[in-house]
Homo-oligomer: 239 residues x 2
DNA sequence: GGTTAGACGTGTACGGCGTATGCGTCCAGA
DNA sequence: TCTGGACGCATACGCCGTACACGTCTAACC
């Protein structure tokens, strides 16, 4: 019958009580961790390095964040706070959902490490705000809440998949210290060999016929438009 | 001017040469690593544990895989070998792409750790096979190679995003040792408090009105159908 | 106003990790 | 027959997350 601490981080964020005045709090720790991840990559984020940046001992962090897993959830929600949701919903659901998708993609580009955490949906304040705004965009179309979630989630799940493919490239470049041209230079001989040896007609067409350096923004918009086209059909046909 | 080893793993896989007969090779190491990841989760995969399973010393693995990063690429391609692509392409592009999407999803459920590696597209044999099969499905529709990639990638990127959201849940359950019901029991009080305090109309509607335990397979099919609807419009309208 | 329970920051230590390096051993090609 | 290189291994280094015990400070209580 002990009085367990709440299992959800968001219910556990404390404020100054009895004891020495704080020199640390979860918000500052989160900010330092995010800065570290942005600058040196997700693999560089360690409790020791975060503490080093803050001129504190590693263990002091645990007074405020519980564990590194907790910290990642705090980081994720903090970053969601950077989403620009002004003027949403505007009344044009398609434009709104497209803007949300672009914002999510922008966020992932600004913080390429986001994708590397698998999370259940967090319950932090910014995630709540995002959910409310998102569902508001697809309200008033005569759909029940499940159909509304279908519309919103389908667009955002496509976005997530698209962005993760993009970021695989970005993170690989960081890890190997090799940009795309260098990568091509390294893989070129191997690919040539493959094309000579085996029957890979489509790989060959990709290399010969495809756009040379497609603008990722353009590709994203083109595919997003297709997805939104698919969603449109669902409206006026509530299940 | 030294004779550098090829930078691509797939060009570096060696066969028995001079020296003692092998008791290890990259395929066996990959298989052991996959078994470990399947059973104990991606965080349990370490060179030491893999070696332990194989009754070898940790360092012996490096004779065959170069680094842990290399090993993850080998694991990913090996698992792609489990895709069932028989009868594809069938001539019905929509059915084929849907089948590919379902296969990819099935694969992620069988090996929930796949999503946790960010990778550039691997050049392994199974990835090559998958690319060829996938593009063959959308050939003959009067589209150029870029439009073909749009069709295929959009469906698969949606799938990837969908599955990763599902897997966040699965992996969280493994980490915390708590199933969804237990998770709900823990978060319930916090959510109740949120609903009382703040203005979260859509969260409230989700909890009250949404399907109680939606079948993920049904949700996936519903959303995939919407995406495919969107792709259909692109056909006959080659850019 | 004195006392004290509890918050705070820290030092030490444990068991894990990836992998660089150097060493004996074995065998195919010279 | 000789030998260079492939093979597996033991050791060691510098990281990691975090359990635990400790001294210190202060808000709340008598």
């Amino acid at each position: 019958m002990a009085d367990e601490p709440p299992p959800v981080i968001w219910a556990r964020l404390s404020s100054q009580g009895r004891g020495p005045v704080r020199t640390l709090d979860y918000a500052a720790i989160t900010a330092a961790a995010i800065a570290l991840a942005d600058e040196d990559g997700v693999d560089a984020v360690s409790m020791r390095k975060i503490a080093g940046r803050m001129d504190h001992s590693p263990m002091s962090l645990y007074r405020h964040v519980g564990s590194k897993d907790d910290l990642t959830e705090l980081m994720y929600d903090a970053v969601l706070g950077e989403l620009d949701l002004t003027g949403i919903p505007s009344g044009n659901w398609r434009a709104d959902v497209a803007r949300l998708a672009r914002e999510i993609r922008r966020l992932h580009h600004a913080h390429p490490w986001i994708a590397r955490f698998g999370h259940r949906p967090t319950l932090g304040p910014n995630a709540r705000r995002f959910l409310e705004t998102g569902l508001a965009c697809v309200d008033g179309l005569g759909l029940d809440i499940d159909a509304m979630m279908d519309l919103l989630s389908t667009a955002l799940q496509f976005t997530r998949g698209f962005v993760e493919q993009e970021l695989g490239e970005v993170e690989a470049q960081r890890r190997t210290g090799l940009d795309f041209a260098g990568y091509q230079r390294q893989t070129g001989p191997f690919i040539s060999q493959l094309l000579q040896e085996g029957e890979l007609p489509y790989l060959k067409r990709l290399i010969i016929e495809a756009e040379d350096a497609p603008d990722p923004d353009v590709v994203f918009e083109r595919r997003l438009a297709m997805v939104l086209d698919g969603l449109t059909a669902r409206i006026g046909r509530p299940s």
